[in-house]
């Protein structure tokens, strides 16, 4: 099972690792909240690939898959909240003068 093939667990893991790294890279280099969120999504997906792969090759059963499903659910929840916050901020700027708004830095 050397080489990169669909029968090989490692190939999936490597795939996951690559996704993870890309997600991390996004988070690292992006200054933009939404881009960072995208990076997070990549990370989550990489984890999910691992889970499903392990479910398939390592543990058998569907525990891993279920884990993945939950991750997806929570990702959705988080995204919803995140968007709500962005919206809130967006709304604030309609009403208050931005040049006067100070940021969190003391």
């Amino acid at each position: 099972m050397n080489g990169f093939s669909p029968q090989d667990l490692n190939s999936y893991l490597v795939l996951g690792a690559i996704l993870f790294s890309l997600g991390l890279y996004t988070v690292l280099t992006r200054r933009n909240a939404i881009s960072v969120l995208m990076g997070v999504e990549l990370i989550l997906n990489s984890a999910n690939i691992n889970y499903v792969a392990f479910a398939h090759f390592s543990s058998g059963g569907v525990d891993g898959q279920i884990y993945a499903i939950f991750v997806i659910m929570l990702a959705a929840a988080e995204a919803a909240v995140g968007l709500a916050i962005v919206l809130a901020i967006f709304q604030i700027f309609h009403t208050i003068d931005v040049s006067a708004t100070e940021t969190l830095k003391e």
């Binding site: 990370i43 884990y67 939950f70 916050i85």
Partner: protein, 492 residues
């Protein structure tokens, strides 16, 4: 004892009560006009849950819901802490101007669900449950942070918090996935069994642990996962800040201990823990602990905003608390539990004072505390002094006893370097704590500074908390016994 879903319900009252309360609150919020009732109601719910929890405390313990969560004194201890935090914070909220403007119903509901999340964090024995509960607490925390309407500070803090949270938990589950891959199971007991029977790859395991620590550490707020806390603490409504500073910190400790001690370490009869040989996460934590307390204290030095300062001091205290972990024995854990209780009391107290002052002046800068003692706010000033000195760790206050036990544990294990670092840190910390005290007592108010009224409720609560700080500082026998008893992990 290993119960199925139905059987578990008998041991599930506290959670059920909380859930019920949450739903009730949401429902009532739609019909009721007088929002205060909601607060009272949720308080009632908390007290009920408290009663239920106490009633369960000391029972033989066991697995519930197909080994999803566990019932033992350890988890119950943290449930009690979470409830105590919730109750205090609700009381605080009732006397806080800031909160009055909020949607009481949602506020309470979210607060309670956060508490519930902490319950599960303390008791989950399954990677999935751990992740879920963590997320529950996180998401609710984001919401609470962003709760202040029309307040950029608050919203920005929330967004920041959310993003850090996402990254942290993402990293964590990636780490968890490796554990799952190596052991083929999500269940702690299974993991423990697999790890200690087989010969897992140390490097992989270590990497996984580090990733998982990211998720936990971000709740406990230790370096380098602390960067969100100052902004969030400053941006969030003060009661929420208080809640986060004690509640999620404690819950984080709980979940961390739960995973790193019973799951991946073995306890020797003499109460000292043996970690997997070759996977030196304790050393990692040792460094983290030193860095955390030092960085926290140093950053606190320059702060002018009380909440921000308390945030940094919170980071420092997270460092102290970690001391109890790295010594890898029950004295250490016990000292840690003790410290968590003490920290809960004094920190909530401190934030309550912040609320009182903010109610009167609407400001949170240290300068706004000028001559507090001479502005008709003797009770807040004095109790603030008590809390701060207690945080410094001076006798005869509770904080001293807490630090004392931590030092004791550390020195017993001959971690002299850590002890010295901690000692120097507590001296440094004196500097900024005493600075606030100085401003409150040694400076005299300018004519511009108005008088400050304390609502009777807040006054009583403050008196209560400072008395507790003092009493525990002088007679802590019972509390020690309690923490001692709470150090029971259920396994088999």
């Amino acid at each position: 004892m290993d119960l199925g879903n139905l059987g578990s319900l008998d041991f599930f009252y506290p959670e059920s009560i909380l859930t019920g309360t949450i739903l009730l609150v949401i429902a009532l919020d739609l019909v009721l006009k007088n929002k205060r009732v909601v607060g009272i109601l949720s308080l009632l719910g908390c007290f009920l849950a408290l009663g239920a929890t106490l009633q369960l405390y000391g029972s033989s313990g066991g697995w519930l819901f197909q080994r999803m969560i566990v019932l033992d004194n350890f988890s119950l201890f943290f449930k009690l802490v979470a409830l105590a935090a919730a109750i205090l914070v609700l009381l605080m909220s009732l006397s806080s101007r800031e909160v009055e403007t909020l949607h009481q119903g949602e506020y309470c509901a979210i607060l309670l669900s956060s508490t519930l999340g902490m319950f599960f964090m303390a008791s989950s024995t399954n990677l999935l449950m751990a992740y879920l509960s963590l997320e529950l607490v996180s998401i609710t925390s984001y919401i609470l942070t962003g709760f202040l309407p029309h307040n950029r500070r608050s919203s920005e803090a929330a967004l920041k918090y959310l993003i850090y949270g996402g990254v942290a938990s993402g990293t964590m589950i990636y780490g968890m996935s490796w554990i799952f891959g190596m052991t083929g199971t999500l269940d702690y007991a299974g993991i423990h069994q697999a790890l200690f029977s087989g010969a897992p790859n140390r490097v992989a395991l270590f990497t996984a642990f580090v990733f998982i620590l990211a998720g936990f550490g971000y709740k406990i707020v230790f370096v380098p996962f602390h960067m969100w806390s100052p902004d969030v603490y400053q941006g969030a409504p003060t009661p929420v800040t208080a809640f986060l500073s004690v509640g999620s910190n404690a819950a984080g400790v709980a979940i961390l201990v739960r995973f790193f001690f019973p799951a991946v370490s073995q306890v020797a009869p003499d109460g000292s823990w043996r970690f997997l040989s070759g996977v030196e996460w304790p050393q990692f934590l040792l460094m983290v602990s030193m860095v955390t307390m030092t960085l926290g204290n140093l950053s606190a030095l320059g702060q002018q905003n009380v909440k921000r300062l308390l945030a940094y001091s919170g980071i420092a205290h997270a460092g102290y608390i970690l001391m109890g972990l790295v010594v890898l024995n029950n004295e250490g854990l016990q000292a840690m539990l003790f410290y968590i209780v003490v920290y809960l009391i004094m920190n909530v107290g401190a934030f309550l004072v912040v609320v009182v002052v903010a109610n009167a002046t609407g400001k949170e800068e240290i300068q706004d505390y000028r001559g507090l003692a001479w502005r008709g706010a003797v009770v807040p000033a004095v109790s603030m002094a008590i809390f701060l000195f207690s945080l410094t760790g001076l006798p005869p206050f509770a904080g001293f006893v807490g630090k004392f036990f931590l030092f004791a544990a550390v020195i017993k294990q001959e971690f002299y370097l850590l002890a010295v670092v901690a000692v120097i840190n507590s001296v440094i910390s004196l500097y900024y704590y005493a600075y606030i005290v100085k401003v409150m007592f040694l400076d005299f108010p300018e004519p511009s500074d108005g008088q400050i009224q304390t609502s009777p409720g807040a006054g009583i609560l403050l008196g209560l908390l400072s008395c507790m700080t003092l009493v525990i500082g002088i007679y802590w026998g019972p509390l020690v016994a309690f923490t001692n008893q709470s150090l029971k992990f259920f396994s088999k």
